[in-house]
Symmetry: C2
């Protein structure tokens, strides 16, 4: 049987620690190609590069595994991988991450990691984004490996429904072993931003944005609950953003003629 | 009665023609504040600025209407407007656009215009993104004004359901008058990218990305159908990306224990 072709990408950049572990795991399952950003792209959401040029250069940092660093966003990486690097051959699976930081709840919208997975889903390629709720760049993610193997194995075996991708989040490493994997929904939460106003050496004002995560959703079927309770969360995500539940109300209540 | 406070933003940049018309219309309904990008931010999706600083400077280009140009993304503009410019007072309505270019179907994911509206919805502020399927920077959008007035009026009168924002798209100006407004769903379509490989004066390779819109969805209840048939499309959009229809299948079919 032909080995599956697995594309690996991320948003922290091609030299990050998280992508290295993901490449090692992916190599156990198939032929791996890496196309990842040449610089950190956290918080890039589903941005694509349309008013500017893109660079794509081969790199040997993964040894024998073909790898390319790209000046664009994670979504650009998937587009370049499929249409240029792989000459329109679709990979059998796209893996994105392992992200250094949480992508639970509303963070799925801001996440470069998940935008790569969503971009693959739009192309009808099964895809999974992996994130660890630990922002440290030196964190040891090896405890996540058995769970990633399990999820990747099931994805290759059972497939993922068309139009859907998976958002997988791990609690940070702790003393207790992880309790298992939970299928969840996206928690209803938001980031409450703060703007730290400063002045540059020329006296001109600038800001640093920082934020605090505010969870308004305390049910036990959410990704935030799972991760807070030492489970691995798996949220199936779709890119149809239509609020279907609101269409008929809007049609009947609003006077638009 | 107190006049509503309306925040206007966009992704084409604060000097674009589309935002000027939107500000004029908004002023008919309430007190207007403009916070918009200082440069074009098309295709920025839901990107936010987290690894870099932000600038925010007042500008008098809208005369007496308070306006600020921001170095960040459309989502940054909404965050800065609410948390800094308006001192945590929530606007009664956020209007984004008028975008020079289509944001129907899958383009909602890549759209800076819609990310501003979605960001407002996350903050529980009614919001609407307006786009015209005409990429020209000099196009005359005045024919859209009566429809924008109608939609803004209904939004202020009836409100928009929590967690939902509206994605409004106009056909390009034509000889026939627009047929009316249709509530729609996001069409199932994608962009098929092409990469134009070139070499810089130093012999190093670079790419321009371009794309062709491919509609796989020929039903008559989609935004693409509406715009193609000379209607104004209105799609209610939600930011809960959970594929709820797939959760139970995933739970029962996948072996994750």
């Amino acid at each position: 049987m032909k080995k599956p072709l697995i594309l690996v990408t991320n948003d922290d950049g091609i030299t990050s620690k998280g992508i290295r572990l993901l490449v090692e795991i992916a190599k156990e399952f198939g032929d791996v190609v890496v196309v990842a950003p040449d610089s950190p792209q956290s918080g890039m959401g589903h941005a694509i590069t349309i008013g500017n040029t893109l660079r794509l250069d081969p790199t040997d940092i993964f040894g024998d595994t073909p790898a390319y660093e790209c000046s664009g966003t994670p979504a650009d990486c998937v587009k370049l991988a499929k249409n240029f690097v792989l000459h329109d051959r679709s990979p059998d699976l796209v893996l994105s991450g392992i992200n250094h930081g949480s992508n639970t709840s509303i963070s799925v919208l801001y996440s470069g990691t998940m935008s790569a997975a969503i971009e693959a889903a739009i192309e009808n390629i099964p895809a999974i984004g992996f994130s660890v709720c630990d922002y440290s760049h030196t964190a040891d993610f090896s405890y996540t490996a058995p769970f990633i193997r399990k999820i990747v194995g099931e994805a290759l075996d059972k497939g993922i429904r068309k139009g859907v991708t998976l958002n997988v989040n791990f609690p940070p490493a702790g003393e207790e072993p992880l309790k298992g994997i939970k299928i969840c929904r996206q928690a209803h939460a938001k980031w409450q931003e703060k703007f730290d106003q400063r002045f540059d050496p020329h006296g001109r004002r600038y800001f640093w944005m920082s934020g605090e995560f505010v969870n308004m959703d305390h049910a036990d079927d959410t990704d935030v609950w799972a991760v807070d309770n030492n489970y691995v969360s798996v949220v199936p995500c779709q890119y149809d953003m239509t609020a279907h539940h609101y269409t008929s109300e809007l049609t009947s209540d609003w006077e638009l003629s």
